[in-house]
């Protein structure tokens, strides 16, 4: 159990990149990009886990109870917002690409070459 989450991290990264590289549909490609970023969430939260720690919220739990690392959770939060922003923009680009090119296949979109 000690290394399994990190194996998952590498796997998700690999699968996401495979999806981006072999994609034939822009929306699918963008979602694969989200998958690639998900690997960073798992990694961040995985490195900060403390066995037996509670969530770092001390409203009903006495202060100084051993808790998991709160810093990575804040970083993951930032990460999620960044990903949402980038995805929104990419989807807007995809809509416009469909309107201009008539196709969503990244391999057909090659107007710029050479």
């Amino acid at each position: 159990m000690q290394v399994f989450p990190f194996v998952v991290v590498a796997w998700i990264l690999g699968v996401g990149l495979y999806g981006v590289v072999t994609s034939r549909h822009l929306v699918h490609q963008i979602v694969c990009l989200i998958v690639v970023q998900s690997s960073t969430y798992v990694l961040l939260l995985g490195v900060g886990y403390v066995t037996g720690g509670v969530a770092p919220y001390f409203f009903d739990v006495p202060n100084h109870t051993p808790a998991v690392d709160p810093v990575v959770q804040a970083c993951a939060l930032t990460d999620v917002v960044v990903e949402a922003a980038v995805t929104a923009m990419l989807l807007a680009f995809a809509i416009q690409a469909y309107k201009r090119f008539g196709t969503l296949d990244p391999q057909e979109l090659a107007d710029l070459k050479g």
Partner: protein
Amino acid sequence: MDQLLAVVVVVPLLVAAAVTACGLLFRSRRRILDVVAILTAAAVAVMLFAIMIRTARGDQVYWFAGFRPAHGVSVGIDFEVQPLSAGLACLAAVLVTAAMTFSWRYFDRVATYYHALMLTFLAGITGFCLTGDLFDLFVWFELMGVSAYALTAYRPEERGPIQGALNFAITNSIGAYLSLSGIALIYGRTGALNMAQIGVAVAKHPADRLVVVAFVLVIAGLLIKSAIVPFHFWLPDAHAVAPTPVCVLFSGVMVELGLYGIARVYWSVFGQALGHRAAIGHVFLGLGLLTAVTGAVFCFRERHIKRMLAFSTISHAGMFLIGIALLTPLGLAGAAVYVIGHGLVKAALFLCTGIVLHRLGSVNESWLHGRGRPLRVTGVVFTLAGLGLADLPPFATFLGKGWIEASAGPWLVPVLIVCSAVVGGAVLRVAGGVFYGLGDRPSEDPQMAREAAEETSETTGGKDRTPLTMIVPPALLVGAAIVVGLIGPLGPAVQAAAVRFEDQAGYNTTVLSGAHVSHPVALFAAGPTSVTAADVLTGLGSVAGALILAWLALYWRRLPLLRAHRPNASIAAAARRFQSGVVNDYVTWIVIGLAGLGGIFAAIIGLPQSPALGSSPETS
């Protein structure tokens, strides 16, 4: 604590928000928006210049929210400013001011977003340069990136910008996520996000597999941003289609920021722990060489002026990386001054191209042959900038290049000269053909002609004359490039700054304990920065080579020898296969490049340490 450090990042953000909030008011009074944006960018440039002068005496550290480190553990975010960081950010602000002056009044725009986006771009750049915290670096990197994606797609009514923006966004986003993975990895080992704290923590033991992998991942995103081969494929696509003022920023600063990031991450965080200085230097040297040569070759065959300038940026990025990879203060100083000179000159070239686009409606070199003759002043500025790009003394590019060559081995110098000559030759070929009608019309490549024809004008109105706001910025930028090259005490000052940049122990002390380090010590000794006759000779040689190449390119049909050859065709086929425009290919190349780089680094760490350099790190 100097409040200016926080204000300089926050002001453009605030103005961007304010400009959007008052969007309704400004809709009919476009000029006010322009003035506000230009003034903000100019103010930021002045502030950064002041910061650069102030930090010449000693690094400045600013702790946000008042949380200072205790016992070597920092809980807050800091800005750690050195002259090189502030100088790069100042260059960015100057270029933003020039670009916004250029787009005065004549730019198609929607709501207030253009100005807001340029200002957030500037804020992202400034934050990236000044920060001393790895995760903060990632945040500003992403702000810079997202603003850039939006600015690239600014004219979505054409096909090119959308494709270029998509390729740009997907490749650079993958880079950013890889960098974040590296940051998370090193956090898992050291439990710190502050660069100095991480540096101290990893230097305690020689680098093991985790540190190496973290390093490679963190610089992955930065390598993609700096368009190092084979991570460079997105750059020509993005440059070909972005509006001209935006291209100014991409070529002038954004690519150089990636290289700055690599240098910063190496020198301030991982350098001491990784050791193996010579081997690592050689790896980056190889990457730089590959990039310089590839960029130069592809640059010369382009007929689309903006794409040609984009490939020339790639070539120069390779040369900057060579300067950094030499690991000496002189090489770093040379790269820094070269970046400044290149930024100013390249910006002028792009702005002149924008003037051509505005007056003549095209960027296709073949179609434009001879038609640029009425644009006399633009022609002069463009030619001067082209000569500056070819390292003519006394441009700042010549100065920086000279220092890199002085620090490099004798076998590296010819390569650098040839690359400069090829790139300069391409630009001078355009100058001669378009503005003076010299030589024969270049051959028409149908694919390129189609692309260039798509580049419709980005301005409305006033096409019969060149407004002052368009011609003054490039002229001033070229002048500045010359002036910077003539500043006498620049050499020792920049090199002292480079020495301080490379002193990791000093950096850690400054940040974590607030002490002032009076005698920074770099790994290599500083070199002489005076300009020798040999330097002038190599500079002139590079310019001569460029002129010869340009002349050959313009007149080759009249020479019996060359008429028989058709060297362009095979390169054209190769180019089309690699620069395919398909983002899946680009990502595949990124993966190939990273796997290769990872393998090389893994092998390096497996090697025993060389006793002369980078042997067991000092434990304080």
